[in-house]
């Protein structure tokens, strides 16, 4: 089967994928940042600097999405990845577990 690719499509798809992956990294960074903040080893200034850096990253990603019209592409890539993760987890769950879910009812 031949794939029809025009330049605009390719750019959108590729950029959408890259931005979706960066968003996932962004979420990990934010989680780590919160953990450090809660750990209490950071000064107030350090927390503020960390927060500001993350705001800048967030704004940059939003701008890239908006300017390239890839909001929808990014969302569908992320939904697709969520779906894959769900399917993999479902398959990993031992069928025995499903049996335990079986409930007798009065």
């Amino acid at each position: 089967m031949a794939l029809e690719v025009d330049e605009g499509n390719l750019k959108q798809g590729l950029l959408g994928l890259v931005v979706a992956l960066v968003e996932i990294i962004q979420e990990t960074l934010e989680r780590q940042a919160i953990r450090r903040m809660e750990g209490g080893r950071l000064t107030e200034e350090e927390v503020e600097r960390l927060g500001n850096a993350l705001i800048e990253l967030d704004e940059a990603l939003e701008r890239i999405k908006r300017e390239n019209g890839i909001e929808g592409t990014v969302k569908s890539v992320r939904d697709g990845l969520d779906q894959i993760a769900d399917d993999v987890l479902d398959k990993m769950i031992n069928p025995k577990r499903w049996e335990e879910h079986e409930l007798g009812a009065g």
């Binding site: 600097r49 960390l50 993350l54 705001i55 779906q83 007798g104 009812a105």
Partner: protein
């Protein structure tokens, strides 16, 4: 074996087991319009069509959908005609002709008979309960001092710190909503248990039907219900459906796919 029944290859495709001990023609309503008929043994019968002794397989999704639709259709028609049936899953095939089906029915007779009696006048229903996460979020926020305190901090702190606190707040609310939804799902399950003969809890699916999109499925049940109790189950579900932030999807009756014990 009836001589009128033409042999098509060496297999019999199985739709379901029914009560009834006579040979019957059910018409050309099977997969790819095949002729569907019953193969009886004593007072039970298998609903079949003659096929090749190999499974139906195709990479064409539409084609497979058509087959599954026909499979379901035959089971529905058999249910209308014979009452309770023991349905087989798609692509259950016995090797051999009608005699092989009869032998197999003879060997498994007591099990099939027992299951037909156990499931008599009972059907399968699907119950799915959805919740609106934002309504739940509102409820948990009211209850949690920690959330209120954090919300205050977000307002009081400088921009960068506030951003991190806000992300933390989001995570906290998400966890509380999940715990709240879990509590409701357990409570609803207990209520529903009282109105069903048997229940199987399936994993709540992330794929939510269009009508309930943006909502979270918190309960996904297959319920075996006697025909005299369907109304009371419907009423109980109606009460849940009235609660703010919840919606119920109640579908059926289906043949008892999840409850017929055909193996072992």
């Amino acid at each position: 074996m009836s001589s009128a029944q033409a042999e098509v290859g060496g297999g019999r495709y199985l739709y379901c087991i029914v009560n009834g001990g006579t040979e019957l023609e059910l018409g050309e309503m099977g997969i790819e319009d095949s002729r569907v008929y019953t193969v009886p043994h004593e007072d039970i019968a298998a609903v079949v069509h003659a096929c090749q002794a190999k499974p139906y397989e195709s990479k064409n999704e539409e084609k497979v959908k058509g087959w599954i639709f026909a499979h379901q259709y035959v089971i529905d028609q058999a249910t209308k005609r014979f009452g309770t049936v023991l349905p087989f899953t798609f692509d259950s095939i016995v090797k051999g002709g009608d005699e092989a089906v009869k032998d197999w029915l003879g060997k498994e007779y007591s099990k099939f008979k027992r299951e037909l009696e156990r499931l008599n006048d009972k059907s399968e229903y699907t119950v799915q309960i959805f919740c609106d996460e934002s309504t739940l979020a509102g409820k948990v926020e009211e209850k949690s001092d920690e959330v209120r305190k954090l919300r205050g901090d977000v307002k009081a702190k400088p921009k960068g710190t506030a951003y991190l606190l806000e992300r933390r707040l989001e995570g906290m609310i998400k966890d509380l909503v999940a715990a709240e939804a879990n509590g409701y799902s357990k409570k609803f399950l207990e209520q529903i248990k009282g109105h069903a003969d048997e229940i199987k809890a399936e994993n709540p699916s992330k794929r939510v039907p269009e009508k309930w999109k943006d909502k979270l499925m918190i309960l996904n049940l297959s319920c075996l219900v006697h025909k005299d109790r369907v109304e009371e189950l419907g009423n109980a579900l109606g009460e849940i459906n009235k609660l703010e932030g919840f919606a119920v999807r109640f579908t059926g009756p289906w043949a008892p796919f999840s409850f017929a014990r055909l193996e072992g």
